[in-house]
């Protein structure tokens, strides 16, 4: 395992702040309400799509700093699994198990379709490159 340069940690912190603020702003603009949480759904699906698309961008392949700023940083901060869990829990608590299941499975299924579509646009080699950039090897 390679040690993490402070430059990469700073890039993730900065990108994470940007992504989280973006999600917060969208949530303020179009609140989820008490039915199907469409805003969080759209955030998670679009974020998963964008992350799968990153390897297709040449500047991202050239710069590890940019790759972690955008991947684990912006898109990791933009998307959320904790809010999705809490929304699912809240729907179950309200006695709406069908809606909770539709939301949790719908988010997962749609996000996976989005990732598959984005994957078609970036070659396998490019995807391997970004996996290394993600800092998890």
């Amino acid at each position: 395992m390679t040690p993490l340069p402070p430059r990469l940690i700073g890039a993730v912190a900065l990108g994470g702040a940007v992504g989280v603020v973006l999600r917060y702003a969208l949530g303020e603009l179009v609140p989820d309400g008490d039915g199907f949480p469409w805003t969080t759904f759209a955030i998670n699906v679009s974020g998963a799509f964008a992350l799968a698309l990153l390897p297709a961008l040449a500047p991202v392949r050239r710069s590890r700093t940019l790759a972690v700023a955008l991947g684990p940083g912006v898109l990791g901060g933009y998307t959320t699994l904790s809010a999705t869990s809490e929304q699912g829990r809240s729907l179950l608590d309200q006695g709406r198990p069908a809606l909770a299941a539709a939301y949790l499975l719908g988010t997962l299924g749609t996000a996976l379709v989005a990732v598959a579509i984005a994957g078609h646009w970036s070659t396998a080699a490019e995807q391997r490159a970004i996996a290394v950039e993600d800092g998890d090897r």
Binding site: G15, A17, Y24, G76, S82, L108
Partner: protein, 108 residues
């Protein structure tokens, strides 16, 4: 002001996720699994504690939102192929359970 709290919490949460992922994600992404479960537990806890709006912005929307990730989870599930179904099911169910546990603890 709220935006600043969200940004600070998000920066800390995202950095922690990156470090945990760097140290624990291997062929199976244990690090990402861990931060998603812990973040879901904490958000359930913070929700039950009825935190003030600034605190919820810092710790909930910011920290828990930054700590957990759906984008990496979805891409990892896709990359894992056949094992992805198990990874996805375990992540979603354990995170939901952890969130419920956190909420329960917060109410007690």
């Amino acid at each position: 002001m709220t935006v600043l709290l969200v940004a600070v919490g998000g920066a800390v949460g995202a950095t922690l996720r990156f470090l945990v992922g760097h140290h624990l994600d291997r062929a199976l992404p244990f690090g990402t699994f861990l931060v998603n479960v812990v973040g879901s537990f904490l958000l359930g806890l913070f929700t039950a504690l009825s935190l003030t709006e600034p605190l919820l912005a810092l710790l909930g929307t910011g920290f828990c939102g930054g700590l957990t990730t759906y984008s990496a989870f979805a891409v990892q599930t896709h990359t894992l192929g056949r094992r992805g179904a198990l990874y996805a099911a375990v992540t979603v169910l354990v995170s939901l359970g952890a969130c419920g546990l956190g909420f329960w603890v917060g109410q007690a």
